[in-house]
Symmetry: C2
Subunit: 317 residues, 2 copies
């Protein structure tokens, strides 16, 4: 598999991860439909194993490895959900897992990673430090790198969430997903190419990490930025294959400020009764921020994760 997966790879991923990943429900809400002015179909990936969609990509990557490669284990760098997902996926195959975590990561997410049996390696919170530490662990252990998003197997795996949503709720008019590094976003584009070619793709991106919006506007990757957002899962820089896939699909971006994301998170907790993290709530915030894009439509939304520090909720700040 090259760095640029194809639509068929999403179908193959769905077959590969069946029996490991959970079929998560699609949630509806009369109240939120009335507020948003459209029909919202929430794919509940915060109920996925590990508490996020990330298990799909990690699982696809781990089970794609030849036995002799898998035996040496896997390694990644992750602010949280991908690390926990890779740990779970590695455990499902009985192989070692190493996770490089940047300073400042959410404690609840680190606890998840350790609970699933991975070894933690700490580093500074820069992209360069993450990658350097990851390379050191690779050298020392022979573990195989599973990048959190710039990886064809991961991208294809993340696309299976939308594949399932279409099977459960029909073809939406628009899909809305959060974008950070672009694993879910690019996977969603591929899934749409496979089963819903007429569906638009809207990416919800924090104003404090809007590299995807700037990159797509410029026609080339613009990833020189210091993230500043409550969406801890969306601070990574857009990956190269991710950019290429999103550009090819014609993905749109809605940039959302943190206040709108926190308000949407609170609304989702109150009405949907679902514990979702800011990086998930931003997708609902995007719909509420620009209702004219979605009016009267069937809108698929991936609720991407629910790993939150319950002692430090953003509306208490």
């Amino acid at each position: 598999m090259t760095d640029h997966p194809a639509a068929d790879d999403v179908l193959a991923a769905a077959a590969r991860i069946a029996g490991h990943a959970d079929l998560t429900p699609v949630l509806r809400s009369r109240t939120l439909d009335a507020i948003a002015g459209c029909r919202l179909h929430f794919k509940a990936e915060h109920l996925q194993r590990g508490g996020a969609f990330k298990f799909r990509g990690a699982c696809n990557a781990v089970w794609s490895l030849p036995d002799e490669v898998a035996a040496r284990g896997v390694v990644t760098h992750s602010s949280g959900n991908h690390g926990a997902a890779l740990a779970l996926a590695a455990r499902s195959r009985g192989i070692p897992c190493h996770v490089v975590v940047p300073e400042g990561a959410v404690a609840a997410k680190l606890a998840n990673i350790q609970r699933h049996g991975a070894t933690l390696w700490r580093c500074e919170a820069t992209q360069a430090a993450r990658e350097a530490t990851c390379a050191q662990v690779q050298d020392a252990t022979g573990a195989h790198l599973v990048h959190p998003y710039a990886d064809a197997r991961v991208i294809a795996g993340q696309g299976t969430a939308t594949l399932e949503l279409v099977g459960q709720a029909g073809v939406p008019d628009v899909m809305v997903v959060p974008v950070g590094g672009g694993g879910l976003a690019a996977g969603t584009a591929l899934a749409l190419a496979a089963v819903a070619p007429g569906c638009r793709l809207v990416l919800a991106e924090p104003a404090g990490a809007d590299d995807t919006a700037r990159s797509l506007a410029a026609g080339e990757r613009r990833i020189d930025f210091v993230p500043d957002t409550v969406c801890d899962g969306l601070r990574g820089a857009l990956g190269a294959p991710n950019f290429a896939l999103l550009r090819a699909w014609g993905a749109e971006v809605v940039v959302v400020d943190d206040a709108a994301t926190v308000a949407a998170m609170r609304l989702a907790w109150q009405v949907l009764k679902q514990v979702i993290e800011p990086s998930s709530a931003i997708a609902l915030a995007a719909v509420l921020a620009q209702p004219e894009r979605f009016a009267g439509r069937d809108v698929g939304v991936v609720l991407s994760g629910g790993n939150v520090e319950l002692e430090a909720l953003p509306w208490h700040a």
Copy 2:
């Protein structure tokens, strides 16, 4: 229908409320199963219309009324969830609804009631004041009283949650539900009589409002108490028909202190990713408090409601 509904009344209620009430999902969690040492099947009634199972009983009562009675509207007293449920049910039939609310009720629940179109009447937080105010409203408006739990139609309606659970997840070995006034508890006993006669019934009751435990132990109602519990939905006194039905069924009671309830609530939020209120979390707390009662069993748990003040979570107190 008398004050003592029969098992068949639950089946009739299910037919009556179909098309109004939602079929809520049954949630599972590998993590909670491992912690509890049993297989937990959570009936997600916090996802029911109005955010609680209460809609089932209210809807059954409202749609049981003859047209000429219904036309004068309905009235009730409620600390919150039943009031919102009756308001929604009345709206589904296009009739007026009056709700008497005691001082100190949860603001989120009052907002729900008003949002659904009911008229609020405030009174002191005693049982006597509730009933007196309710009688005044009846006199003034001609509205028909739908008691929150000591009502055969309400009891039968609440039983439909367990009826559905059995259909969705099979017959459990034990059902665990919270008990306050006993509407859900008595309805669950009836549902078990109808479709799962070998299933045990365990009631989770707050230590600060343990009238059901004392009543069942004494063999007669003991309802002279001042409630003191974080479970705002469980402060009512056990109803007479409720007591009779629970006694006849041989219901067991697990008394739970508030600290254990709050810990279970936090655990449910963290692991299940569900926003449930203390009055719901107490059922999980009961399982965790006395694991030997449930070890290795299939345990049905009704997550009864999810109307919480997000600004005043009990673990911040």
